[in-house]
């Protein structure tokens, strides 16, 4: 099949997912409102921390806001398209992956559009903090306007890195079936940690966050260059390379994992 027809099919499946969701309008609205509420409370938490400490280890309020916003937006992008990777456990426990495996298309392409999420609350919240941080730093002359397009690139590469981490974690489920606890560590805890500058943490921990679970490359490493002029322009190339390598490695691992799928008894 040609790439264009894969794309047509993908779009069709996403439309289907949205239409299915709209069958339960009340649930959809409630879920959206709740998600927005969670986002607001999360933002208040961060605002409180920032207000209390002002700056953390030489990082200003705006800089930390930027780290937080990039992470939120990258995660939102990942979860909008790749939510089902995060929920693979459901498919493993229920054996629902069976159906997807009998379809003549790549399993991920069948899996991802099963549940396309519209995450307006997250986009608004992340976008707001991003604009506020950028405006603040531009106002003080710390950064120029070129940071804006680069930030978009960073959000994209960040989403790819988070997706790869999510995919590797999910793939481990082919051996363990249950993956929720592992996800708490590799996805939630790691991501939360990277909302703050990695210099906060002991060496071994920031080391892990830059290698085994490379969430540091989502926001921290690019910020070093974009906001503070540290390291050098090669950083932007490096995050693209990290994103591409993570994605390639995770896809390979996923393919291998599929051969270990055990399904369920019937």
């Amino acid at each position: 099949m040609k790439t264009t027809s894969w794309f047509t099919l993908y779009k069709m499946l996403i439309r289907t997912s949205i239409r299915s969701r709209m069958q339960y309008k009340f649930n959809f609205i409630m879920a959206s409102v709740l998600a927005a509420l969670i986002q607001i409370s999360e933002f208040l938490m961060v605002a409180l921390v920032l207000h209390k400490f002002g700056a953390i280890k030489g990082w200003s309020l705006h800089e930390i806001g930027y780290l937080f916003a990039i992470m939120t937006l990258s995660k939102t992008l990942y979860r909008t398209f790749g939510n089902e990777v995060h929920h693979l456990e459901k498919y493993l426990v229920g054996g629902e992956l069976d159906q997807l495996l009998t379809r003549p298309m790549p399993v991920l392409l069948a899996l991802l559009p099963q549940n396309f999420r519209i995450m307006a609350g997250e986009v608004l919240q992340g976008g707001f903090i991003l604009c506020w941080s950028l405006a603040g730093m531009m106002h003080s002359g710390q950064i120029g306007w070129t940071v804006i397009p680069f930030s978009l690139l960073v959000i994209l590469t960040g989403a790819i890195i988070l997706f790869s981490i999510g995919l590797v974690t999910a793939t481990l489920g082919f051996w363990t079936t249950r993956i929720e606890e592992l996800q708490t560590i590799t996805e939630d805890a790691a991501r939360t940690a990277a909302q703050y500058p990695l210099t906060l943490y002991p060496k071994w921990m920031s080391g892990i966050l830059l290698t085994v679970i490379p969430v540091g490359f989502v926001n921290y490493v690019p910020s070093l260059y974009l906001l503070r002029g540290e390291l050098g322009a090669w950083v932007l190339g490096a995050i693209v390379v990290v994103a591409v390598l993570s994605l390639a490695a995770s896809l390979r691992f996923w393919k291998f994992g599929l051969t270990k799928y055990q399904s369920t008894g019937s």
């Binding site: 099949m1 027809s5 047509t8 099919l9 069709m12 499946l13 289907t16 239409r19 299915s20 069958q23 339960y24 054996g95 629902e96 992956l97 069976d98 159906q99 495996l101 009998t102 379809r103 003549p104 298309m105 790549p106 481990l172 051996w175 363990t176 079936t177 249950r178 993956i179 929720e180 606890e181 592992l182 560590i185 051969t259 270990k260 799928y261 055990q262 399904s263 008894g265 019937s266």
Partner: protein, 324 residues
């Protein structure tokens, strides 16, 4: 032409021993302890074009595991599968594009959407052009009576309707080979008849090759030209239904009602075994493989004057019970 080839198929399930307590998931991940279970052991067979094969066995015998290996869902621990010359494990996408697969326990349709919408998506997925789609759906709608629930969301269909809709979905891309895992499970008599009729048409008129698993022996008796029996992960029988009857050699039961007095001799032929005498009625079991019915009746006539004879052939269900 061979449509399905299975060579020394073997599947061993290894499940890590689940730990109790905190972080059980994480500890299970790094655990070295495994429970292994051989679900399928060294199964080989060939199925030719146009065959209608029933694949039966008790629960947990390895039926579903075999079907899932054949359809590329599970990878065998060792052994090889070829479907029309293609390996579903090495070329999954290309191979499954030419299969029809129906799991009775599970629908492949989009749960919340009208039935017809699922067909639109599947047509796109399998690259079926609009003309073929319309033509085939019209055909299926007639054979399976789909019209009445065409616009109903799948979740609101009755089990029988859903099964019919699923069958049509599996045939939309006109595959040569059809795998059905318990397609009649939980259906009423009418729905079963409807589905059997459809499958017979597919096999006889369109020459489709079909492999079916079921627990309903009527499915097997009415549809299949060949039966394979699996038990404890191994093929225990592979052949036609009549020869399965012969192999098992279940006795025919004859109930004879005598008029007036009768006398059972002390020495009777070894072909006849008396299982009960009740007033004027004598029940005997005979093995019809060794003796013809006429010979047996002649013998019975010598015991007294016969008023009525009732014969009961062994039930297919009983035969299967014997194979398990």
């Amino acid at each position: 032409m061979t449509m399905i080839t299975a060579r020394h198929l073997q599947k061993e399930f290894k499940t890590p021993v689940v730990r109790e307590g905190r972080f059980s998931g994480l500890r299970t991940l790094f655990s070295r302890e495994y429970l292994s279970k051989e679900a399928v052991r060294d199964i080989s067979f060939d199925i030719g074009k146009g065959e209608f094969v029933g694949y039966i066995g008790p629960n947990g015998a390895g039926k579903s595991t075999t079907i899932k290996m054949l359809t590329g869902i599970l990878h065998p621990t060792s052994g090889e599968v070829l479907l029309g010359g293609m390996n579903p494990h090495q070329e999954r996408r290309r191979t499954v594009g030419r299969l029809g697969v129906v799991f009775g326990q599970r629908s492949q349709l989009w749960w919340d959407l009208p039935v017809k919408d699922s067909y639109d998506i599947l047509a796109e997925m399998y690259g079926v052009c609009a003309e073929d789609k319309t033509k085939r759906l019209a055909q299926f709608a007639e054979l399976l009576d789909l019209e009445s629930f065409w616009a109903t969301p799948v979740r609101k269909l009755s089990l029988g309707q859903r099964m019919r809709a699923d069958l049509a979905a599996s045939m939309l891309h006109d595959p040569e080979l059809l795998f059905l895992d318990e397609p009649t499970i939980g259906l009423d008599v009418n729905a079963k008849r409807n589905i059997r009729q459809f499958l017979r048409t597919l096999n006889e008129e369109f020459g489709k090759t079909i492999l079916l698993t079921t627990h309903d022996m009527d499915d097997i008796e009415q549809l299949c030209s060949r039966v394979m029996v699996i038990n404890h992960g191994q093929l225990t029988y592979d052949g036609s239904i009549p020869s399965l009857r012969d192999t098992i050699g279940l006795p025919t039961i004859i109930r004879v009602t005598y008029r007036g007095s009768f006398h059972i001799p002390d020495v009777i032929s070894s072909a006849i075994r008396i299982t009960g005498v009740e007033g004027q009625i004598v029940t005997v079991e005979v093995n019809r493989k060794e003796w013809s019915t006429m010979d047996i009746l002649k013998q019975l006539e010598q015991w007294g004057e016969i008023e009525d004879v009732e014969m009961k052939e062994p039930d297919f269900e009983d035969i299967i019970h014997r194979v398990y």
